[in-house]
Amino acid sequence: MLRYIIRRLLWVIVLLIIVSMVTFVIFYAFPSADPAVLRAGRSPSPALIAHIRHTLGLDQPIYVQYWRYLENIILHFNFGYSYQFSLPVTKLIFQRLPATISLTVGAVVVWLLVGLPVGMISAIRRRTVLDRATMTATLVAISAPVYWLGLMSLLLVSNDIGVVHIFDGAGTYTGLTADPGRWFGSLILPWLVLATAFAAFYARLLRSNLIETMSEDYIRTARAKGLPEREVILRHGVRSAITPIVTVLGIDIGTLLGGAVLTEYVFNIPGVGRLAYEGIINADLPVIQGTVLFGAFFIVIANLIVDVAYAFLDPRVRY
């Protein structure tokens, strides 16, 4: 087990290096804008642009730039300085992290609380009107893009531009430590919007898993024991059907911690996803690199945690 984890961690490093290389190459192969020009202000002289380019190290060959970048990370844990904010990328990311964590954790809670019971009931009441109705609803929910759903919800229920003024809308994000009440109020809408597609997906996933599990031989054994149906479903059925969901959940959480770009953008939440978006818009290479690496890191670590957790959830799995 320990050997397995160590081996996987070494792979994480290799993977992150590859990711950073790819990001570098993409940035230079498909430039969104010239960072030096962006920083030079209105109608700059070529000399100024060249000067800025030199200061940022952009006049070096790409492999030298990349090597310096890696060197700084490994020797100083320095992910470079943002072109636009002139601040260390690590500092920017850690500043933005609480908002992203708030958004992710809340959404996860919402979608598990909604998705799992819905999936379970649908599986048990399979082929009933209730089942068909919820499954149709989940299909709609999965198909609705987050930006559309987000904007619609703002138009309908936000307290500024909404038809009905219920929830705080975009641009009101407040830190948890600053004002817990406002923090909660400003995140309800983003949580619901972000959780919608996930809840629907998890409901469908649990439903199909549970239906499959309920036809297993050991379910028949549980019934033959004389267990009440409720226990047959919960202790024997759901216990098995939930394990694949844990896998997906781990990876989803990892992905979202890397930044829920669309949700953060629609609701103007100052999270990592929004930082990444700003980085891309402003050709802010260090920020792009940092957020991409950071997101990749969360995803691979989440994968690792999921795989390790699986060994505890399913005793047949050993590493």
Partner: protein, 375 residues
């Protein structure tokens, strides 16, 4: 407790209404088993043998089956009993073990835990008392080092040990009736014998009734008192085990007997498979359900549905066949002498005028099913 058999099934019918039509899984089956006795139910897959026993436990209801007839257990009719009351019988008075012990045990729970659950479902005992009993049960079924094995998962057990654990679980609450559905099919041949011996030993010690469901007559030969041969949801022959092996009366039973290798027969004797496939339970054949596969089919057999009736000189031996009893005995004697069914066909009568019955050509001499050369 009332007099009479422990379990008496009368005219049991189980139908499943599916999109393709009504599946007549069990179609008017009657049998009984006494305390301390063993009944074998034999038939191909799809003959309704498993459904009839699952129905005894009330487990086909959940699948939307329509059940009619009577299942008397200790004088109570289980058909129509509310599920709450059936649940008290399940795993308590009537226990069941299944074909594949690996898939029948929950992969995520320790074996001991699964036994404890079975015990505590019906008995109000502490966890530690239940665990102690679980370990005793594992020891009873011959699992070495039960204290340690109780804390292992099913996948850490061997096939035979798993089935022993299943049996231990079934015995948790000292059932009066144990239904074993293909208990040895998934096991190695050597382990099969051990499990059967274990079942018999446990029956001697605990005095329960056993119903063994199998497709393999060889399995039930040693341990059953009576055998019901099922075909297409019905019992086609019912007799004592000795009668089934010595003087079977139904062509299907002959087919079953002739398709199992036997050590007491000459080594070069051909195995005779039963031609064709079991009929659909939705669109069933007319007349005798077995007629499309019967080598001795006559014109009349395509329209007349035979009833299960006693053979002339033995009221305990019942058979559902339209052939005359004397003809059946001649054919069986011929089969015993090693002749193949085709050569005995004229004994039954002129056969079908229009077309030859769907009998597979006798397997080429020296070749056994599966293409293996005879030794």
């Amino acid at each position: 407790m009332t007099d009479g058999p422990l379990l008496k099934v009368e005219d049991l019918r189980v139908y499943f209404d599916t999109e393709d039509g009504v599946v007549h899984a069990v179609d008017g089956v009657s049998y009984s088993v006494d305390t301390g006795k063993t009944l074998g139910i034999v038939g191909e897959s799809g003959s309704g043998k498993t459904v009839s026993s699952l129905t005894t436990l009330g487990l086909t209801r959940l699948q939307g089956a329509t059940v009619t007839g009577r299942i008397h257990f200790e004088g109570r009719d289980l058909v129509g009993l509310p599920d709450r009351e059936l649940r008290r019988l399940r795993g308590n008075d009537i226990a069941m073990i299944f074909q594949d012990p690996l898939s029948s045990l929950h992969p995520f729970y320790k074996v001991g835990h699964q036994l404890v659950e079975a015990i505590r479902t019906h008995r109000n005992v502490s966890k530690s008392a239940a665990r102690k009993r679980a370990i005793d049960l594992l020891e009873l079924v011959g699992i070495p080092d039960p204290q340690r094995r109780a804390d292992e998962y099913p996948h850490e057990f061997s096939g035979g040990m798993r089935q022993r654990a299943m049996i231990a679980m079934a015995l948790s609450n000292e059932p009066k009736l144990l239904i074993a559905d293909e208990p040895t099919t998934a096991l190695d041949v050597t382990v099969q014998a051990q499990i059967l011996a274990l079942l018999q030993d446990l029956q001697d010690r605990l005095g329960m009734a056993i119903i063994i469901i199998t497709h393999d007559l060889g399995v039930v030969a040693e341990i059953t008192d009576e055998i019901c041969v099922m075909y297409s949801g019905r019992i086609v022959e019912r007799a004592s085990t000795d009668q089934i092996f010595d003087a079977p009366e139904h062509p299907y039973t002959w087919g079953l007997l002739k398709s199992i290798p036997r050590l007491d027969r000459p080594r070069n004797e051909d195995l005779v498979p039963i031609a064709g496939r079991p009929p659909s339970l939705i669109m069933r054949p007319s007349g005798c359900f077995f007629h499309p596969r019967c080598p001795y089919v006559q014109k009349r057999h395509r329209t007349v549905d035979p009833e299960l009736a006693p053979v002339p000189d033995d009221s305990h031996h019942q058979v559902a066949c339209l052939l005359d009893s004397s003809v059946r005995r001649k054919i069986w004697n011929g089969l015993q002498a090693g002749r193949d069914p085709t050569s005995l066909r004229e004994l039954a009568g002129p056969g079908l005028p229009s077309r030859a019955p769907a009998v597979a050509a006798p397997i080429a001499s020296g070749t056994r099913p599966g293409g293996l050369r005879a030794p």
